[in-house]
């Protein structure tokens, strides 16, 4: 192909704002945000994270995956003229004019230490490790703070009742950013309770499938070794043949 090099160059060129940072001259729309009170003019289509980088901040805290999975970039902000305190992930929230913001990159919490293989699958386990769960006043502030839109208070209440399935299913999308715990007036660390609840449910509430148990036994009996010995020693030509002869399982 005569133009394949130019394809790569065209792709690289189009992606430059993402891979090497935006260029001021390309920006049409600007907003002013206040990072810990200090005003910066930034392009309007950046996220809080990329806007702070544009302004000159180099992150070593308050940043992780940059794509909404790791919970490192919890941020608290207010909009000018509004009394409401909002929360979000810096990497997933677009900047808005008049935003006053601060990052909360760390939330001090004491995770309980337990041996999941020895715990009892009832409410006493939760109360033993996290007795403060009983202090929940059902104010729902945790739910409002959650950037994942989890019904946090609902799973805290479910934990209090020892309903592990509900704790696990409701808290499943938790990325442990800590914003719920920082806002909780009862000083509950919701995300650690969710973690205990999910592990308890995963271990005691979900049965191990029979097909897995059978397969483990087959492995123990070395049932597959002759076939694998053959494959491991096969030449490339033989492997190509095996690969071409594969049968696709029915949909």
């Amino acid at each position: 192909m005569s133009n394949e090099k130019s394809v790569m160059e065209r792709i690289a060129e189009a992606n430059k704002p993402v891979t090497a940072g935006v260029d001021e001259k390309d920006i049409k729309h600007w907003v002013t945000i206040r990072i810990m009170g200090k005003a910066y003019r930034v392009p309007s289509d950046l996220t809080i994270l990329t806007a702070m980088e544009f302004a000159g901040y180099r992150f070593v805290r308050g940043v992780g995956c940059r794509q909404g999975f790791c919970g490192a970039c919890g941020t608290v902000y207010r909009k000018e003229g509004e009394y409401k305190l909002k929360t979000g992930l810096a990497c997933q929230t677009r900047v808005e004019d008049g935003m006053y913001l601060v990052q909360i990159p760390f939330s001090p919490a004491q995770k309980a230490i337990y041996d999941i293989k020895k715990e009892r699958y009832n409410v006493s386990t939760i109360l033993k490790y996290y007795p403060e769960v009983a202090k929940c006043v059902s104010c729902n502030t945790c739910t409002k703070a959650c950037p994942q839109d989890i019904e946090v208070m609902d799973y805290v209440q479910a934990a209090l009742r020892g309903n592990y399935e509900k704790v696990a299913e409701t808290s499943f999308d938790c990325i442990r950013c800590g914003l719920c715990a920082m806002r909780c007036p009862a000083e509950i660390v919701q995300y650690d309770i969710g973690q205990l609840g999910r592990r308890m449910y995963g271990r005691y509430g979900m049965d191990k499938p029979d097909h897995l148990k059978i397969r483990l036994k087959e492995l123990e009996e070395k049932k597959f070794d002759p076939e694998l010995d053959k494959l491991e020693k096969a030449t490339k030509e033989e492997l190509v043949k095996f690969y071409a002869a594969r049968e696709r399982e029915k949909d």
């Binding site: 790569m8 992606n15 940072g21 794509q67 999308d173 097909h211």
Partner: protein
């Protein structure tokens, strides 16, 4: 904003989406056929690995002469951050038996298994560049492969894996991968990970690109998140020491064997010395190098540090020439360019569709083939959609998923991706999303054997930093699997190895002398330094006026 937006899209894109809606019913039961081997060859010429330019021969080290991407050569042919005289090696700040570098799935698995095999918690040290758990692992969406039911078998998994890797994988290493896979699923169940189940209690197992059997296990579209938060919780319960925001900036050797490492406090700049009897490298991949100018799905810290340090100390690399581009990265809106849209979307029915509403490729080709077909459709056949910022992409027809699996399926299976688009006003149940390949995975790395040994005594490697498992192209679901299989094996083997080591080795940076000598002999000027630790994204205007006065 001056432009008019409808359902999160500018008006012109919204208009183009109507063509996708119009052809959907017809496409529901019509899927383009998989390419023949010749068809695959033909389309692969548009893959960034095979397209002209962007690569060169390595000039120094054990793999001298190998062809690698320029971005990798730039780091392997860079000078160290420190010089011998800078560092006081007379006293070690930490003296674990086993040092593990990197707290993703591989490093965390290694720590748990070393402890399980009898190494006391206090004799293990895990060090993290950022926080424990900050890793590409946590961003893995789609799943983990394991041949754990009929009609599947480890042999089928073996053939799929090695064929997907173009028959370049190390067979003995692949064998370890596929035979340990059911053991890993069992381990995850024991620890309480919530793997998706069918109503009859069996694992939910879906298709992955390039597989002949449905064997992809998932935890909704948060598979890596669930696996890693469970392992991290278990790690913490075992009271294994972990330090955060402490990247490794150099390995230490006694001249041959790896004997420790130099850590650097990312916040204060102070260095710390670790001596250890075994080092397990689990630093992950290289997406943040933006090879060939691609955006990436990767974590902020994915900068190839582990390979750079191991290579300098004398470890051999394998398959350092190939890069995995995930076929479906987000191309719109601008805030999420390059972000991952899991292969599970295509595995459950979503199709790549061009600007005219036509399906142009079998949705589940191996990743390199699928990505190449999308690049060709956009840049050669000119059938892509151009975004407001000038990117090209094709549609991924997500509404097909609910059409094929029933309403509510997306809500249940893809809460993460649905949420990500909702934040920008787009409902993936109603409208397709625009996609383009994105830099995703380091196929090769530090060469390992089936027990995660590198070519250097005292050094293990596991996870994305290790090479040989996937050959020149990885199949989906084999990465999270590989991290846990080879992390576990590294932990088990290192636990045995350290028992044979009576004392710690001598701590020196002698290997740097040798390496710097080679750089000089190859006429490489000391302009670049590595590892880079973190990428640079600060605004150009701000950087241009920065001065150091304090």
């Amino acid at each position: 904003m001056a432009e008019k937006y409808i359902d999160g899209y500018p008006e012109y894109m919204h208009k183009l989406i109507q063509k996708v809606h119009q052809t959907r019913a017809k496409r529901k039961d019509f899927v383009p056929k998989a390419l023949t081997p010749e068809g695959r060859e033909d389309v692969l010429q548009f893959h960034p690995d095979y397209a002209k330019g962007g690569k060169r021969n390595l000039m120094v080290g054990l793999n001298k002469g190998d062809i690698v991407p320029d971005e990798i050569a730039n780091l392997l042919e860079a000078y160290p951050l420190i010089e011998k005289g800078d560092i006081d090696l007379s006293k070690a700040d930490y003296s674990p038996e086993i040092l593990i570098i990197g707290g993703g799935l591989a490093g965390t698995s290694a720590a748990i298994w070393a402890n399980e095999m009898g190494v006391k918690a206090e004799n293990i040290l895990l060090t993290n560049k950022l926080r424990h758990g900050d890793a590409n692992s946590i961003m893995a969406e789609g799943g983990t492969q394991a041949a754990d039911r009929e009609p599947d078998s480890p042999a089928k998994h073996f053939i799929d894996t090695i064929g997907g890797g173009h028959f370049t994988n190390k067979p003995d290493v692949v064998r370890a991968l596929v035979t340990d896979a059911p053991i890993i699923m069992d381990w995850l169940c024991e620890l309480g990970a919530m793997l998706d189940r069918e109503e009859n209690g069996e694992f939910t197992e879906k298709w992955g690109g390039g597989t002949s059997v449905r064997r992809m296990h998932s935890c909704k579209d948060y598979t890596g998140l669930e696996e890693l938060r469970v392992l991290k919780d278990e790690f913490t319960n075992r009271l294994i020491p972990s330090i955060e925001h402490f990247p490794v900036i150099e390995l230490l050797t006694d001249g041959n064997k790896v004997t420790g490492a130099v850590l650097w406090n990312l916040e204060t700049g102070e260095y710390k010395i670790v001596k250890s009897k075994a080092v397990i490298m689990a630093t992950g991949g290289f997406g943040r190098l933006h090879i060939r100018g691609f955006p990436t799905t990767n974590h902020y810290g994915a900068t190839y540090d582990g390979v750079v340090l191991a290579y300098r100390a004398g470890a051999k690399l394998i398959d350092a020439d190939t890069v995995q581009y995930h076929p479906t990265g987000a191309a719109y809106p601008v805030q999420i360019i390059g972000f991952l849209l899991t292969e599970k979307l295509r595995a459950t029915g979503a199709q790549p569709v061009n600007k005219d509403g036509e399906a142009f490729v079998f949705p589940l080709e191996p990743r390199d083939v699928e990505a190449s077909a999308i690049i060709k459709e956009c840049y050669v056949r000119e059938n892509g959609v151009i975004t407001p910022t000038g990117l090209r992409g094709v549609w991924l027809d997500t509404p097909l998923i609910d059409l094929k699996n029933g309403e509510g399926f997306i809500d249940k299976s893809f809460p993460g991706i649905k949420r990500m688009y909702e934040r920008f006003g787009i409902d993936i149940r109603k409208n397709p999303v625009l996609i383009f390949p994105t830099l995703h995975y380091q196929n090769g790395g530090i060469e390992i054997d089936p027990w995660s040994h590198t070519s250097l005594e005292g050094l293990y490697a596991a996870g994305e930093v290790a090479g040989g498992i996937h050959g020149k192209n990885r199949l989906m679901g084999n990465s999270t699997l590989g991290t846990m299989v080879f992390g576990r094996r590294a932990g088990i083997d290192a636990a045995k190895f350290v028992q044979t080591q009576k004392s710690w080795g001598k701590l020196t940076l002698d290997h740097l002398d040798v390496y710097v000598q080679m750089l000089k002999a190859a006429n490489i000027k000391p302009e670049r330094r590595a590892p880079i630790i973190l990428p640079e994204y600060r605004g150009k205007a701000a950087l241009a006026r920065m001065i150091d006065v304090f």
